[in-house]
Symmetry: C2
């Protein structure tokens, strides 16, 4: 399940980025996060941490929860 969560996060990140018409390079430039790392996050290969999650939400101008839209749909309540 873990890998799926990273993939779902990455898919939503890429979606939000493209909605702004940004390339990964642009998002890297705007956020200050390395382009290569962002590529890994979008491919679902990174267990991204709180501070970078917040940095991305702020850069994209969305509430942090917006990055978890697909994850919320996949997480069955306990």
């Amino acid at each position: 399940m873990n890998h799926d969560l990273q993939v779902l996060f990455g898919r939503r990140l890429a979606e939000l980025r493209k909605q702004k018409g940004w390339s990964q390079e642009q998002l890297a430039l705007e956020s200050g996060i390395a382009r290569s790392y962002l590529g890994g996050v979008e491919r679902g290969q990174r267990n991204i941490a709180l501070l970078n999650i917040c940095k991305l939400a702020k850069t994209l101008g969305v509430p942090v929860g917006e990055l978890f839209t697909y994850i919320n749909k996949s997480l069955p309540p306990m």
Copy 2:
């Protein structure tokens, strides 16, 4: 600003935990995350990563975004 985000996340986590009437031990037991680590997160000393964030949200039975309520209020849009 980084430390503040960790403190805001930790404050919200503790609030949601207490709303369930759980001790840190109970949340640790239910989530499978070490009690000592949870204590650090609640004190704002940990840069918690995606998978543990999702594990906590699922355990608490809330959408992931609920954990970011205070952070969202503090993040001025770019």
